[in-house]
Amino acid sequence: MKFKVEASGLRDKLSSFLATAKGSKRFVTGLMLLFVIAGLAVFEPVINAVRLGGRKPVEIGLFERGLPPSLEHPLGTDMLGRDVLALVLVGLRYSLMVGMMAGGIATIIGMVIGISSSYLGGRIDVVLNSITNGILILPTLPLLMAIVAYVRMDMLLVSLTLAVFTWPWSARTIRAQVLSLKERPYIMLAKVTNLSDLEIVFKELLVGLIPYIVASFSFSVIGTIMAETALRMIGLGPAEIPTLGFLLGWAMTYGALAQGFYTLVLAPAVLLVLIFVALNLVNTGLDEVFNPRLKKITGL
């Protein structure tokens, strides 16, 4: 016995979404965590300006070397006399910037390929899908590393390269969803009318895809930040973009662990983990909101 409640129009969908979203603890926690992290990143210049009196955080020798954590330096200082907290905040900001840019590009590429592949079907689908799956299965990190090693990059190029290796995830998710939506009556109805394919995609399809696009975006951000960090740890990538990964790699190369500079390694690592956890909570939460049946089954 089924009982459908028709939510017509975007506004209704939005309000019903918000209502159910509030019920998902995971979603709310994740979102709050995200806000805190994003807030830190956005206000980083202000925070650092206030704390360091207008000097750049990466300046060497601002403070005494190797100070343990204290009120003035909550995370201590590193072996070059820089305040670890300031460094970490800068790293956070750049990590998020690269992550969002690369993640955005990856999501867009994934959307384009995913939608065209499933919507147009036929041979195009076979080819595109094989490519997507191929990239997904194969270990692409070494190749990514090789490319970054040999080519000098700026932020845009780095983001692009990262995106090129991360788009298959979103492509696959979106393709699956479009495939299931394609057979729904309202799409078939739209096809019968005079709307061009592009119009159908934009007006009808996209609305149903929004949750999947958001999910793809968070996955892509996670993926690109992970890849970027991996690159950095080995020392690859532009040194002018001090992301959290860069910080970690630098710390490892200069033996921070052996010298006992634990906060220098812990802080970026913990922040990275927090970013991942937050994004994942949001994702799982989104999943539960849009699949209430799943929620019942998982017994929240």
Partner: protein, 326 residues
């Protein structure tokens, strides 16, 4: 099988061409890097000669299609060309030396993590809704998303430096010689524990999460309902009905995730300076060792594709439905 060969071939070709198409000349890069690192200068004519000689040795003086054919030919002979790292030792020697360590560590860790995760996942689904389930599930979700190398960092920091329980680097104590003795094996085990744990702790939780979801859908299936109606013993229902059916997608999942696991694993090796393919790659990247880098990339792809093929071939053994269609 045929598609396997095709994909393999295509991926090799793609790798080859993308590496060759990178702007810049790898030989020149390498020589420049060396001059910078070791601070010596070369007169321009000598510089040119050096580059020419190297190029010839690496076969980079011909046009790209001839290079491609040479590449394929040499590949068939399993010859990857001379490496920069240990010049003039050919790259494949380096790789083959590092390979057993990687396969051993990665293979064992992956299998252990998978087994733990799948068994725990079905158990969690069985007890879904209980406090244990809720707690472990939340833990699993958070833990499974931590990248392997970050976990490696934590572990190294905690158990190698702060509380020195395990050695922080290497595959075995440098004072020992590889032989089949108890002390050597013990040393290998000790050195391998932290790297393996970095993988297992995260991977197992990941498998737990996905298996639990699969198992939960199975529990909702009609045949599970019928099994309960039959009044079967709970353990039998769990083993035969839930577990056996949950296994199937997880095996496919294992095959598909190998590439991903490998990606993360390279970094773990590097963090522990474990003498496997991952550390080799990092060193090669630092030195811009063209052939070694290429070799490692090709090897990884080959390994993953082969593993996929093997699992595809073995799958009908556990899923009778597949046998029928084959």
């Amino acid at each position: 099988m045929v598609s396997y060969a095709i994909v393999l071939f295509i991926s090799f070709t793609v790798v080859f061409f993308s590496l060759r198409l990178i702007p810049g000349d790898p030989v020149m890069r390498f020589v420049d890097l060396m001059t910078r690192r070791y601070s010596y200068e070369m007169a321009p004519e000598i510089y040119k000669n050096v580059i020419e000689e190297y190029k010839k040795m690496f076969g980079l003086d011909k046009d790209i299609f001839t290079q491609y054919l040479c590449f394929l030919r040499e590949l068939a002979k399993l010859n990857l060309g001379p490496s920069f790292l240990n010049f003039p030792a050919p790259a494949q020697v380096l790789i083959l030396r590092a390979l057993p360590w990687s396969i051993g560590l990665l293979g064992i860790a992956t299998v252990i993590a998978w087994i733990i995760g799948v068994v725990a996942g079905t158990l969690l689904a069985w007890f879904r809704g209980s406090k244990l389930d809720h707690f472990l599930f939340t833990v699993a979700i958070c833990m499974s998303q931590v990248p392997y190398y970050l976990m490696a960092l934590f572990l190294v920091m905690l158990f190698a430096y702060i509380i020195p329980l395990f050695p922080p680097r290497g595959a075995y104590s440098p004072t020992l010689v590889p032989e089949l003795s108890i002390s050597f094996i013990w040393s290998v085990l000790r050195h391998g524990t932290l790297p393996a744990l970095s993988l297992i702790l995260i991977s197992a939780f990941g498998w737990m999460v996905s298996t639990r979801s699969v198992a939960i859908t199975i529990v909702g299936e009609d045949y599970l309902r019928f099994a309960t109606a039959k009044g079967l013993k709970k353990r039998r229902i769990h083993n035969r009905y839930v577990f056996r059916n949950a296994l199937l997608p997880q095996v496919t999942g294992l095959a598909m995730s190998l590439g991903f696991i490998m990606n993360g694993f390279y970094l773990v090796e590097w963090i522990f300076s474990y003498p496997g393919v991952g550390t080799l790659l990092s060193l090669a990247l630092g030195l811009l060792d063209y052939n070694t880098i290429q070799g490692v990339i090709l090897l990884s792809m080959f390994a993953v594709l082969t593993a996929n093929l093997l699992i595809d071939l073995l799958y009908p053994l556990i899923d009778p439905r597949c046998l029928y269609e084959v």
